[in-house]
């Protein structure tokens, strides 16, 4: 299918595919089995400039936006959704800085994130605050030019591996949703340590950690946006980051289908190729059709979003105002509904496809020395993180209701 990529986007796809084939494929099984962070692949991705595809050239980036990120994450995830997360979770940690960073904040952190010299992470979840981020308990108390953080965040992707963390803590517990504030906390800040390393069903090449804050003093200049605006920061971030999860899911689904088709074609039963049975072909047809529909939705939404994002980023570089402020001027509306749709549809599709890919391969598909079962384990998280798919449906439903209300219906 020709998606009319520009020459640069085509080069991005080819580079990411080459990294996936040459550098990820040989090590994915080892990192999955041993649950080790893929520093070897991260180094190759740095050298190939993959971290910089969605950054403005002022920070050493290649000047793309969300669509370029989606193309990279999709290609990497075709080989390993866990390894791809080193880059995708960095993007999730970076978007709040891109959207709400002052010129000084952007100059301080974006160049290292664009080069991949330092990885990023995003920490919002807590044991009692999953889907309900208003229940955030990690506290930040103002003390002169500092905030003192106390509490824990958990399930942080790129935890321990990343050096630049966007952390959400409450500066005013009485105010609930309006008491949460977003901070950038750098690894090595006294009082900031790592707790439990999680052992997971899938994406085992990704490090998932508990973050522990014990009287951790963070400069007030590290606040993103304003005090009490944390959940705005989070929601605006999710609006543009969810296509990244969708791309990861789409890549995982496509990778699973590719492996299953290659096997079904050579596997012979009853004297013929398994792929020649109509039941198998129907399964393959449904996989390919739903994946292509998912891709078409993801690409068109991301491209439409990028028109606004690129204009806002350029305007922000010229004006010194935040990208979020500029975005409000150029954007026709918020992207919540559409970014929820792509995340929902791509991840549900990926889970179905990965599940059927195992079925198509039969017993061998269930074995851990064959690459297909890993795709199912990796696909599952895409229905859960950055908002469960139930939360995505809530948001789509809420937006539909708001649209009706706006029409006076």
């Amino acid at each position: 299918m020709n998606y009319f990529l520009t020459e640069e986007q085509q080069a991005i796809v080819e580079t990411a595919r080459e990294i996936a084939e040459k550098k990820i494929k040989p090590v994915r099984e080892k990192h999955d089995a041993e649950e080790t962070f893929p520093w070897d692949v991260v180094e190759e991705m740095r050298k190939a400039d993959l971290f910089g595809v969605y950054f403005h050239p002022n920070y050493g980036g290649l000047g793309g936006a969300g669509f370029e990120l989606v193309l990279v994450v999709e290609e990497l995830s075709k080989m390993c959704g866990g390894i791809a997360l080193a880059l995708a979770a960095t993007a999730l940690g970076t978007f709040p800085i891109i959207l709400f960073g002052t010129p000084d904040q952007k100059k301080k952190w974006l160049p290292d994130l664009a080069s991949g010299r330092r990885l990023g992470a995003f920490a919002i979840t807590e044991p009692e605050a999953g889907s309900d981020a208003t229940a955030t308990r990690c506290q930040a108390k103002k003390d002169g030019d500092f905030y003192v953080l106390n509490g824990i965040k958990n399930f942080c992707s790129n935890g321990e591996s990343a050096e630049i963390y966007t952390v959400f803590a409450t500066t005013d517990p009485k105010r609930g949703a309006r008491g949460v504030t977003a901070f950038v906390v750098e690894k090595g800040t006294p009082g900031f340590t790592f707790g439990k390393k999680e052992t997971k069903m899938g994406i085992r090449a990704s490090s998932t950690y508990e973050l522990v804050f014990d009287n951790c003093r963070v400069p007030a200049s590290n606040v993103l946006g304003k005090e009490g605006y944390g959940l705005f920061v989070a929601q605006a971030t999710f609006d543009i980051s969810r296509p990244g999860v969708a791309a990861q899911a789409l890549g995982i689904g496509t990778g699973a289908m590719n492996e299953a088709l290659a096997y079904a074609r050579v596997r012979r039963q009853f004297g013929q190729s398994v792929l020649s049975f109509q039941s198998t072909q129907h399964m393959a047809a449904d996989m390919a059709t739903t994946l292509e529909a998912a891709r078409a939705l993801l690409y068109s939404v991301t491209r439409a979003m990028d028109v606004d994002m690129k204009a806002a980023v350029d305007a922000s570089e010229a004006s010194g105002k935040t990208v979020y402020e500029e975005l409000k001027k150029v954007s026709s509306g918020r992207w919540t509904k559409y970014s929820a749709m792509v995340k929902l549809f791509c991840s549900d599709t990926a889970l179905n496809v990965a599940n059927n890919a195992i079925q198509m391969c039969g017993g061998i598909g269930y074995m851990r020395d064959f690459p297909v079962e890993k795709y199912l384990r990796d696909a599952k998280i895409c229905q859960i993180y950055e908002g469960t798919n139930q939360i995505q449906r809530n948001e789509i439903g809420m937006m539909l209701t708001k649209e009706l209300a706006a029409k006076g219906l």
Partner: protein, 269 residues
């Protein structure tokens, strides 16, 4: 200040299964996809790594070849080289390794004249079409520089000298040379990176000078087919190896006995 490194590369058919035309005795190139000689990829990667090791260094890449060989120079820039130079002329065609190494040495002298001193020349061990391994040492001889072939590691380098590990059949030699010098590298020396996105963008924009025999002030008696002392009297594809004898036996012991009998029959043991 840094090093100025020149990497000599060749565009060759993208396969190790080269076919020879039985009538003309030349390599069949029709319909072949071309790429950088695989051994030269390690030479480019090593040059880029040395550039990263020694601050302020520059990597130039040089090839002799037909107009389409420019693609391989651009590919080398995508892989991290800074600039590229193309020796191209009908008069260079049909060169053997003697004439090729002469022509490349004149190209290197031209680079020195235009861009300043060269500290190190890196070649791949050999090409996948000619397979001789002559050209690296040949360039050194023409330039009057020291050289080491079969390099598997660069231990140390600065602007005055280089310490390299040379793979030998019975071990490894550790050798130090004064610069300027030439090395030819093995595939064991590194794992080439994937060409970077910024490299690919540079590769599209880079202006590559084309130099002919006059530009490099080459002696016309030493270039191309006419300047090549090698005469190809005959070349052929080696006949495919015939199948061997299968030794049967119900047990490993029986098979071993059959093997020993066979070897004794041929008076090999």
């Amino acid at each position: 200040m840094g090093l100025h490194i020149v990497v000599c590369i060749k565009q060759t058919p993208a396969t190790s299964n080269i076919q020879i035309d039985p009538v003309t005795g030349t390599l069949k190139r029709e319909g072949m996809v071309s790429a950088i000689n695989p051994f030269d990829e390690y030479a480019i990667e090593e040059a880029v790594r040395l550039k990263e090791r020694v601050a302020g260094s520059t990597v130039s890449v040089l090839t002799m070849g037909p107009p389409q060989a420019e693609e391989s120079l651009r590919d080398a820039v995508a892989r991290g080289a800074d600039q590229a130079f193309h020796l191209t002329s009908r008069a260079f065609a049909g060169a053997d390794t003697w004439a090729t190494s002469y022509t490349l040495s004149k190209g290197i002298q031209k680079i020195i004249k235009e861009k300043g001193p060269v500290h190190l020349v890196i070649c791949g061990k050999q090409t996948n079409d000619g397979d001789t391994g002559h050209v690296g040492p040949g360039i050194a001889t023409w330039l009057g520089w020291p050289d080491v072939a079969y390099v598997k590691k660069v231990e140390a380098v600065d602007e005055q000298k280089i310490v390299v590990h040379r793979m030998m059949e019975d071990g490894v030699d550790v050798l130090e040379m004064d610069l300027p010098a030439v090395i030819a590298v093995l595939k064991e020396i590194n794992t080439p990176r994937v060409a970077s996105l910024k490299g690919k963008m540079n590769a599209k924009k880079v202006v590559i000078p084309q130099w002919n025999e006059e530009a490099i002030e080459a002696d016309k008696k030493c270039i191309g087919l006419g300047g090549s002392p090698t005469i190809v009297s005959k070349s052929f594809n080696p006949p495919p190896r015939k199948g061997g004898i299968k030794l049967d036996g119900a047990t490993p012991q029986e098979k071993a006995k059959a093997l020993v009998d066979k070897l004794q029959e041929h008076k090999l043991i």
